[in-house]
Subunit: 138 residues, 3 copies
């Protein structure tokens, strides 16, 4: 069985956000899959998807602090049409990645106990974000 | 349906290159897939595959500038047999990743409007690069 | 055909470890797959899986040196409950990623000649690590 579905996330503030439930609640066919995989493609190049800790919000703010320091906005990039956060957002998107593949069993995501899906919003004003979900399995 | 096919990319200069068309033009069975996924594995450890902006070439040169600065070639690595770009290339390959999984619909890659496939060539003289494409779907 | 199997890796020292054989030797159905894909999800947020060089151990120690320098443990993170290596381990896990997807052909992983699967153990005392393997193919 193959299912494809577009998920539109409402605008999030710059930073990292736990979006596991926001994603799984909207998937129409997840509960039908006994064994399979869920693929998520964030169709943007200035945001990211990553797996990380699902409990303490300070992990997400420390992560934002790390990337703010690591990918400086004070560098004279050539690609700066949309502001100082433009090129750094592209860099963070490739460092973290824009897609995830997650195992599915008995209709649920088989993440580790402490794992959740994070959206990294790397623009100061990112707007809606489109995620194309491809679900396959038996 | 499952298809596997080796794609051989001709040598690219050091830096980041937009290779979406170079890849899709060679895929023999892409148009047969109604819903599916394309997996690409770059079979090397000193180059990378990533999704990023498909339009402005300065994004790619800024990206090269970032990684040149971020993964210094002036550090005394133990693994330096093939020159100062040797170990930094291995680091960049793991930071960016060597594989991609891309949704397919109606015989086409379902990337975002601004997304393209980038080859990161991290060696000064990289030679041909092999990408094993695995296409599956219905 | 779909198979799911939990692999439990015994504790590894902090650093990068070549675990290709440790993983493939335990997979029950790999040899039955003519064409397919193997997905590995490390169900933790303070360790990582990545593909890199499978031969010279100094690549792995240089990689550890790079990440030790790049993701400092001397920064005052808010999330430091489990010590100075706590938050840096979460950062490294997202930079490197916690999952891999590898093509399978004629019952074997189709990695490049020099590619192997690395476990990145980013905690000083990491304990056992769980990897959920999902194998599919025909």
């Amino acid at each position: 069985m193959w299912y494809q579905q577009m998920l539109i996330l409402s605008p999030h503030q710059r930073g990292f956000h736990l979006v596991t439930a926001e994603i799984t609640d909207r998937l129409n066919h997840l509960t039908e899959i006994k064994t399979g995989l869920l693929h998520l493609l964030l169709q943007h190049t200035s945001a990211s998807l990553t797996l990380n800790e699902n409990c303490d919000p300070s992990v997400r703010s420390d992560m934002e602090g790390y990337f703010l320091h690591q990918v400086s906005e004070d560098v004279p990039y050539r690609h700066d049409y949309e502001g100082a956060d433009d090129m750094p957002a592209h860099i963070k998107s490739s460092l973290l990645g824009a897609s995830l593949l997650i195992p599915v069993g008995q209709g649920k995501l088989l993440l580790g106990t402490w794992q959740g899906i994070w959206l990294g919003e790397h623009r100061n004003r990112g707007g809606e974000r489109h995620i194309l979900a491809t679900l396959q399995g038996e």
